[in-house]
C-alpha cells in the first residue's frame, strides 16, 4: 500500500547510484537569438552541495531551467540522472527565484507545502473521514517536513502575511516534501537579512546531509554558503568554470572569467579571500565544521570568501 519513496514518475525507476547526477558538456543556450552562455561543461555528483555563482543577469537561472527541462540547449548535451532533462520531474525539488505571495492571498503555509506533495495530481482526494484506514500518510509527511524547516508555529497562517524568512522556510519545505533526490534552489537567500541568510544556509546544508539530497543552489553572494560547498560553478562574461572551491577560486581563473582584475588571497589560517569582485556587501562568515560526509570532495579546510573593494 505504501511505497517507501515517492516515485510517481511514469518513466522507469532510475538506479540509485547514477553518478554524476548532473552532467553538461559543451552546453550552449540561446534565447531569442542571443547567446546566454556557451561552452559550459560541469558535473555534479550524488550528495554534493553545489553553487552556481556569478553576477546578476549572467544566466544562472537559465542553467537551472535547462536542468529542469524548461529550456532546451542550442548545442552540447545536458543530462540529469543520466537522462534528458525533464524526464524525472518527481525526483526533483525546485525553489524558483524569490517570489513573494500577495498579502491578501488566503492560502495557509501548510497548503503551499501540501501542494508540493500532491498538487500535480488530478481528481478529488477522498476526505480522511470517509476513508476506512484513516490514512494520513501525506499529512504526517507534510507535518514532518514543516518541522524540519522549523515552521510549525506559523504554518497555519496565510502565507502572504509571513515574513520573507518564514515564507522561504515554508517554500523549502514545499520543495522537499516529496522526498526529491535533487534540489534546485534559485537565489534562496536573496532579499533575506544576514541572520536569516546564515540560518537558511545552515538549514539547507543540514537537509543535504540528513536527507541525502543533492543540492544545487544559485547565488550571487557566496559568503553565507561557502563553508558548506563541495562544488562551485562560476559563470561570467568570459565563460564558465566548474570544480571544487579551491580549484576554481584562483586569481587567474576569476580574472579571466570576469574580465576584470581579481585577486584571490590566502590568509595565514588558510582561508580564501577574493579581492576586487564588484559584488554584494562584505561580511564575515563564522567558520563551520565541515563534517566530511561527502568523501570524494572532502575539503581540506573550510573556506571563507571575503570581498573587499580593490584599492
Amino acid at each position: 500500500m505504501h511505497r517507501p519513496t515517492a516515485h510517481h514518475s511514469n518513466s522507469a525507476p532510475i538506479p540509485i547510484d547514477i553518478d554524476p547526477v548532473i552532467e553538461f558538456s559543451d552546453a550552449c543556450v540561446q534565447l531569442n537569438g542571443r547567446t546566454i552562455w556557451s561552452d559550459v561543461s560541469l558535473t555534479i555528483s550524488t550528495g554534493e552541495f553545489a553553487a552556481i555563482l556569478g553576477p546578476n543577469g549572467v544566466g544562472k537561472s537559465t542553467l537551472v531551467n535547462v536542468a529542469l527541462g524548461t529550456y532546451d540547449l542550442h548545442f552540447g548535451t545536458a543530462k540529469v540522472f543520466g537522462h534528458k532533462p525533464g524526464s524525472h520531474r518527481q525526483e526533483i525539488g525546485y525553489l524558483p527565484q524569490r517570489r513573494s505571495f500577495d498579502p491578501s492571498l488566503r492560502i495557509r503555509g501548510i497548503d503551499i507545502v501540501t501542494l508540493g506533495l500532491n498538487g500535480h495530481r488530478w481528481g478529488v482526494p477522498i476526505p480522511r473521514r470517509l476513508r476506512h484506514s484513516g490514512n494520513s500518510e501525506s499529512e504526517s509527511r507534510v507535518a514532518e517536513v514543516i518541522e524540519l524547516v522549523g515552521a510549525t508555529s506559523y504554518a497555519d497562517r496565510p502565507i502572504g502575511q509571513l515574513s520573507g524568512g518564514e515564507q522561504q522556510r515554508l517554500l523549502i519545505a514545499q520543495s522537499l516534501v516529496q522526498r526529491p533526490r535533487l534540489l534546485f534552489l534559485d537565489e534562496p537567500l536573496d532579499s533575506l537579512d544576514l541572520p536569516n541568510q546564515g540560518s537558511i544556509a545552515a538549514l539547507i546544508h543540514h537537509i543535504s546531509t540528513t536527507e541525502g539530497v543533492t543540492v544545487v543552489m544559485v547565488a550571487h553572494d557566496v559568503n553565507p554558503i561557502l563553508p558548506y560547498l563541495d562544488r562551485v560553478i562560476y559563470i561570467g562574461p568570459g565563460g564558465a568554470l566548474s570544480g571544487t572551491p579551491r580549484e576554481v577560486i584562483t586569481t587567474a581563473n576569476l580574472t579571466r572569467l570576469f574580465k576584470t582584475p581579481i585577486e584571490v588571497l590566502t590568509t595565514s589560517d588558510g582561508r580564501l579571500v577574493v579581492v576586487g569582485q564588484p559584488e554584494a556587501p562584505a561580511h564575515h562568515s563564522d567558520r563551520h565544521q565541515h563534517d566530511g560526509v561527502h568523501q570524494d570532495n572532502h575539503l581540506p579546510d573550510p573556506l571563507v570568501l571575503r570581498e573587499h573593494r580593490h584599492h
Binding site: L95, P96, R106, N118, G119, G123
Partner: protein
C-alpha cells in the same frame, strides 16, 4: 403576511420551481468556479465574458434562437479566444492586454444594443438581459443549465488540485509537470460556462452577485482552501434562495436583491474577520501557535 405560507404558495407556481431549480444549479457552479476566479485574480476576465454574453444573447433572440444558446455560445466562445490570446508576462503587455479587453467590452455592449434595436418589440427584454430575471425559465432551460453546470462542476473537481497549484505557484507547478498554460485555457472555458449560466438569472451585468461576492466573503472567513470553497458555494446558494424569495414577494428586480444580499454577506464577512484579528488571544493566534 406569514412567510411560511408565502413559501408554500411560491412553490405552487411552476415558474418559481423552475427559478429555484435553475438558481440552485447556477449558484453551486458559480460559487465554485467564482472561488477560483477570485483566487486567480481573473475578475476582469469574468466581467469581460459577461459583457460578451449580452450581444450573444440579444443576437440569439434576433436570430430566433434561445437566449440560453446565445449566452453559452458567446461566453464559451469568448473564453476560448481570450484563452488563446498570446500572453506576456511583463507588466507592459498586461496593460496593453487590459486595454484590448476594455475596447472589446465597449464594442460588445454596443453590439448588444444594436441587436436589441434590430429586433423590434424586444426592447423590454434589455433590462432582463442586463439585470436579470427569474420569470419564464423553461423546463428545457433548467435541463440545459443542469447539464452544462453539472459538466463544468465535475470538470472543475477533476482539475481542482493542479489548478490551485498553478494558481498560487505557477513556476513550481510547471516544474512539477502541471500543464499550467492548458489549465489556464481550460479554466477560462469553465468560467465562460459559469458566466453564461449565471447571466440567465442575474443578467449580464450582475453576474458577480454569485461569481465574486460569495468567494470574496468565503476567503475572508477562513484560510483553509477546501473549507472556503465549500462556504463559497453555500453563500452563493443562500444568496440565490433569499434573492428569489425577496423578488417574488416584492415588486423589485431579482438582480437587485441578489446583489444586495451578497453585499451584506460580504460586509458581515469583513466584520467577522476584523473581530477575529482584533481578539488574537482568543482565536487565531492560539490556533496558529499550536
Amino acid at each position: 403576511m406569514n412567510p411560511l405560507s408565502k413559501i408554500s404558495e411560491l412553490f405552487s407556481y411552476h415558474f418559481m420551481v423552475n427559478a429555484y431549480a435553475a438558481g440552485t444549479i447556477v449558484a453551486v457552479c458559480a460559487g465554485a468556479i467564482g472561488w477560483f476566479m477570485v483566487l486567480r485574480r481573473q475578475t476582469f476576465a469574468g466581467h469581460t465574458l459577461a459583457v460578451i454574453g449580452f450581444p450573444g444573447a440579444s443576437a440569439a433572440v434576433f436570430l430566433g434562437l434561445s437566449v440560453s444558446t446565445g449566452y453559452f455560445v458567446s461566453c464559451i466562445g469568448g473564453a476560448v479566444i481570450i484563452g488563446l490570446l498570446p500572453r506576456g508576462t511583463t507588466g507592459e503587455t498586461r496593460v496593453a492586454e487590459s486595454a484590448v479587453i476594455g475596447t472589446i467590452q465597449a464594442f460588445a455592449l454596443a453590439a448588444g444594443v444594436l441587436f436589441v434595436n434590430l429586433y423590434q418589440g424586444f426592447l423590454n427584454g434589455v433590462t432582463s438581459l442586463l439585470f436579470g430575471s427569474f420569470l419564464g425559465i423553461t423546463n428545457t432551460q433548467v435541463v440545459v443549465l443542469g447539464a452544462v453546470c453539472g459538466l463544468a462542476t465535475v470538470a472543475l473537481a477533476a482539475i481542482a488540485r493542479p489548478l490551485l497549484f498553478a494558481s498560487v505557484d505557477a513556476d513550481v507547478a510547471s516544474a512539477r509537470g502541471v500543464p499550467v498554460q492548458s489549465l489556464s485555457v481550460a479554466f477560462l472555458v469553465l468560467l465562460g460556462a459559469a458566466v453564461a449560466a449565471a447571466s440567465q438569472i442575474t443578467g449580464s451585468l450582475l453576474v458577480f452577485a454569485v461569481l465574486v461576492m460569495p468567494a470574496a466573503a468565503a476567503q475572508r472567513l477562513t484560510n483553509n482552501p477546501r473549507r472556503s470553497l465549500v462556504i463559497s458555494i453555500a453563500i452563493a446558494v443562500v444568496i440565490t434562495w433569499l434573492g428569489l424569495y425577496a423578488a417574488y414577494v416584492s415588486s423589485y428586480p431579482v438582480g437587485f436583491y441578489l446583489t444586495s444580499i451578497g453585499f451584506v454577506i460580504y460586509l458581515l464577512a469583513i466584520g467577522s474577520e476584523y473581530l477575529r484579528s482584533h481578539r488574537p488571544l482568543r482565536t487565531s493566534s492560539i490556533r496558529a501557535h499550536r
